[in-house]
């Protein structure tokens, strides 16, 4: 079964500092991996995806993610965090019927 894990429930970072939100995956076959963000009382928004190709994927709002096959990781990163980046972040992997299986989510808080 396809699955992802987010080992951190909460990540705090100071504004202007780099941020990393961690995700590891367990999939059979080629991994397709996604990151979504959920702002308070809102639906999920797509940030970026890895299908194939470059291990560094660039996405919306200045976010990027690094695919690492040897470590089975797909960590989300941003060079300089903004207070407005504070939100709930989900890593996800698609299943055979196109449904997404999500990680448990990581609450990112960027402190001013």
């Amino acid at each position: 079964a396809q699955s992802v894990a987010q080992p951190e429930d909460q990540v705090n970072v100071a504004e202007g500092n780099p941020l990393t939100v961690k995700c590891t995956y367990s999939v059979s076959g080629n991994p397709y991996l996604f990151w979504y963000v959920q702002y308070p009382n809102r639906g999920l928004q797509f940030l970026l995806k890895y299908i194939t190709g470059d291990n560094l994927v660039k996405g919306s709002y200045g976010f990027e993610a690094e695919f690492n096959k040897s470590q089975t990781s797909f960590h989300l990163k941003k060079p300089s965090a903004l207070v407005s980046d504070s939100a709930l972040y989900f890593c996800a992997v698609p299943g055979s019927a196109r449904q997404l299986t999500f990680g448990s989510g990581t609450q990112l808080t960027v402190l001013p």
Binding site: Y32, F34, Y36, Q38, N41, R42, G43, L44, Q45, F46, K49, I51, L88, F90, P94, G95, S96, A97, R98, Q99, L100, T101, F102, S104, G105
Partner: protein
């Protein structure tokens, strides 16, 4: 220009009642989904429809019945509501045919509270 819309946004009802949540997408997508987000923010797939046909039903009680009158709509009807049904329900859609490769677009969610 809303891509995926849901109504209502909030729904408060009593145990035992029957209620429906509506979802519409104007993206021309072929596949639509219902997800449930519980109080701990865990997100789990409930149903997936492709071209109006059910393709996944994830161990959801049969009190939940999705209905897709056309490709742009996927409604969720819930019978005999229970306290444990309280959650936020999200509708989503994605392109086909290689749906696994395409991102999903989510509606704003419907917060269901059963008292």
């Amino acid at each position: 220009d809303t891509a995926v819309s849901q109504t209502p946004k909030y729904l408060v009802t009593q145990m035992g009642n029957d209620k429906s949540i509506k979802c519409e997408q104007n993206l021309g997508h072929d596949t639509m989904y219902w997800y449930k987000q519980d109080s701990k923010k865990f997100l789990k797939i409930m149903f997936s429809y492709n071209n109006k046909e059910l393709i996944i039903n994830e161990t959801v009680p049969n009190r939940f019945s999705p209905k897709s009158p056309d490709k742009a709509h996927l409604n969720l009807h819930i019978n005999s509501l229970e306290l444990g049904d309280s959650a936020v329900y999200f509708c989503a859609s994605s392109r086909n045919p290689s749906g696994r490769l395409h991102e999903q677009y989510f509606g704003p969610g419907t917060r269901l509270t059963v008292t």
